[in-house]
Symmetry: C2
């Protein structure tokens, strides 16, 4: 099963020729998810060959324009292309009013359903779950209510050791229990232990998204042991005052979160337009957490 | 004095890799005007080397997203770049509510003033006037209230014939009258006629914008004798039914308006994404009005 992230926009509030505002596309076990949707996101999807109509879940972290000004245009394009399948939109409550007012002004209505899930939690909560994946949201520290997300595969099943099963004549009725790690007792009361007939399951993979936020230690628990963490790094330590006053993070602060949370890999984005060169971001982050990379639009990561 | 138009977006509701949604930039005697502002307009301004902060007047024809989804991002960028000079926004009334709701959601407020002039007229009206230019707006025929615009230089003054003035010993007090074409009587009651001491003034130039609209004959009077007319041509005659049902125009219908209004030149835009090749637009329009061109993003016209 694939678990892949594509960076559609890695810039901050001021778009540059090189960095579009925030947007990412995640394919997790064929669940197609858009995270944030800055102006021009539909162009970026087209540019990087991602089919707009596949997107089924849209997560909006907060209502600063660089994270959602492309949403109305994207939904409008989905509609014009004849979409009938619904979309679920997870976002702060006012976004619903904004979209409804724009629809009223246009006299248009979508031919597909938009289910709206308001984000208002004060601690980490599961906002979506199906057979294969879960999505959790949690509050961060920014000027307005802002949420981070963890997209996680469901715990994987334990692979069955067929040969051992046959040798011991264990009933096939035990298999669904064993896959979940549950022991099985047959009709005669004999106990068969799951761990004797299965292998340890592959680790369920997870991806965490934290943008925008100041350095905020409660995030460590939320993103703990994620395979991949995207954390905003709008600034570097030299502009720490600016990070503090705008409630953004420096690259080094992002690295501290990654290190304390024990994630697999850290990627940095939401880079302020003032930086043409991101070598300082990288070196200060690597001094704390080695497995770090500064993203660019179009980069893709297999999780 | 310059009077120049730059096409920023020549597409219709569905943006393509080649055509951005509606937006144009006009410099008329150093008055810097943006007409419509589809998603991505700020990128197009950057791409074509136009300074965002020069824009002082923004005209929004109607509230379909492909004509205004780039506005909130553009205003936000103006603000982030430290703008203090005001902007005047001429648009249907609901746009004010949309912008205010987005500002409320973001917790941001602009550091510059946005003067809002609501468009609600049922016949042609002057919406802006200063020493050098005038802008007029007029209703068109579309699914929601939609307005066209004429940007016009003020009538130019008559050039003075200095030699003739001196030969006849005419008082210099006559000059301001003569420039405006008014005769002058000196203290002894002697009449001097303006036309004897001046040349005919150069024609005041004008540019007319009609997008979006069905074929609508009242437009002929509004855009009469414009030097340049931009008229939408979303469709061609082969898709006339589609034009009728969506209240758009075909290229031939646009040409009929141009021909009946006696304009200098016709340019066609708002081309539906279904047409990769616009030769049919051009040939059907030229069969009615020869001086026609189909625009592309980035084209520039001296009026």
């Amino acid at each position: 099963m694939s678990f892949e992230l594509t960076i559609l926009g890695s810039g901050a509030a001021l778009p540059t020729g090189k960095r579009n505002p925030a947007a990412q596309y995640v394919n997790c076990n064929e669940r197609h998810i858009l995270i944030d949707c800055g102006e021009g996101t539909q162009n970026q999807l087209r540019r990087f060959g991602i089919k707009i109509q596949k997107i089924r879940h849209i997560l909006i972290s907060h209502l600063h324009g660089d994270h959602f000004f492309g949403l109305a245009g994207l939904l409008s394009t989905m509609n014009l292309l004849g979409r009938t399948q619904g979309v679920t939109l997870y976002a702060p409550p006012l976004l619903k009013d904004i979209i409804e007012l724009q629809l009223k002004a246009s006299g248009f209505y979508y031919q597909f359903k938009v289910d709206f899930v308001p984000l208002e939690m004060t601690s980490m909560q599961k906002i979506m779950e199906d057979k294969l994946i879960e999505i959790h949201a949690f509050p961060m520290k920014h000027r307005i209510p802002t949420y981070g997300f963890v997209i996680r595969e469901k715990p994987r099943e334990r692979p069955i050791l067929g040969e051992e099963l046959r040798q011991d004549g264990v009933s096939l009725q035990a298999v669904p229990f064993f896959r979940k790690g549950i022991d099985y007792k047959d009709e005669k009361g004999k106990l068969f232990r799951a761990e004797d007939y299965t292998l340890a399951p592959k680790k369920a993979r997870s991806y965490a998204y934290c943008s925008d936020t100041a350095y905020y230690e409660p995030l460590i628990e939320c993103v703990k042991e994620s395979d991949l963490l995207y954390h905003e790094a709008t600034f570097i330590e030299r502009h720490k005052d600016r990070a503090k006053s705008t409630l953004h993070s420096t690259a080094m602060e992002a690295a501290h979160i990654a290190q304390k949370a024990g994630v697999g890999k850290l990627i940095l984005g939401h880079i302020s337009s003032r930086y043409e060169n991101t070598d300082p971001h990288l070196s200060e982050a690597k001094s704390v957490f080695e497995n770090t990379l500064v993203v660019e639009d179009g980069m893709s990561f297999e999780i």
